[in-house]
Subunit: 186 residues, 2 copies
């Protein structure tokens, strides 16, 4: 429940950008980050999304995002899925490029909200070094809101974050053999 729904909460603007984490095994992490981007764009805030591990997909979200002038994005990652037990140097290189892009965007002073999509997984699987992510969080300009998505958020990141939601899978159509659907899941 967003605070907007909380009985008795008066609304107050704050200029301090928080660190939000959406993690867990349920559907809704990237989707919620996307919703946050959409909401922010409605207020004229500038959003940048760095996709860490989504190389080959024709995501509907990216087509939709292209229609929204306040939202920019950059996509990294190779075609196919990363095998955590056999990460390739090329995959690491993509993730490092994503992290470099994240740094540039965060320190550019051009964006109010920066979404680091699947950075939790990239960190958990050692595609990038967690020390660099921690440094980024600690040194970010105060006004920038950071949203980190992906399963396996490290406890150190959770500790640094202001808001953490664990999206827990109660039921997923995948369990019934229904696969991802265009327009709905990607």
């Amino acid at each position: 429940m967003s605070l907007g729904n909380t009985p008795g909460a008066t609304r107050k603007a704050t200029s301090k950008g928080l660190v939000e984490i959406f993690t867990g095994d349920g559907k809704g992490k990237t989707t919620a980050a996307l919703g946050a981007a959409l909401r922010a764009s409605g207020h004229g805030l500038k959003v940048f999304i760095v996709y860490f591990m989504k190389g080959g997909f024709p995501y509907g979200e990216q087509k939709a995002l292209s229609q929204l002038p306040n939202i920019k994005f950059a996509r990294f990652g190779l075609e196919g899925f990363v095998n955590p037990n056999n990460v390739t140097e090329a995959e690491k290189e993509e993730a490092r490029k994503a992290l470099q892009m994240a740094k540039e965007v965060i320190f550019s002073n051009e964006y109010d909200i920066v979404i680091l999509d699947e950075i939790n997984v990239a960190t958990a699987w050692n595609l990038i070094n967690i020390a660099e992510v921690i440094k980024l969080i600690k040194e970010k300009p105060e006004k920038v809101e950071l949203i980190l998505t992906g399963r396996y958020a490290d406890d150190k990141l959770v500790e640094l974050a202001d808001l953490v939601t664990n999206m827990t899978k109660i039921k997923h159509p995948y369990d019934k053999g229904i696969l991802a659907r265009k327009g709905i899941d990607y």
Copy 2:
């Protein structure tokens, strides 16, 4: 994690619309529904959002949604917050109107995805009758994807749904006294 990320999952379109529920006490339920709407609109799918309990807020999301031609919405609910221990007849009337709108939209054959925002709360607090919600889920046209959001999703709804994510609050800035922020939370 959306299925698009699942290693080994080949993607297959299905014409059957599922029933998804985003519930729990964490941030991200309405936000994820919003992201789903955005993603779908990128594929040219038609989306309708019925807000059950959001009368008075100048939600940024609604401004943003107005820019997207494939997304329509209708908002119900009075100014101020509903007190579950003292629900007024006027509040019930708003929720009933929202449910009536939901029925019209779902059976209109004009929309691929219908989002019923905060319907779980409206049901849990008896603003509307759960039997009517169950009937709606059971009788909806096959192609319509339904997304139900809000805390307190009833077990009967969870049982009927194909996908259920529980958004669990691990940390929320509200706990530190930081209130909802324009552009970020509403």
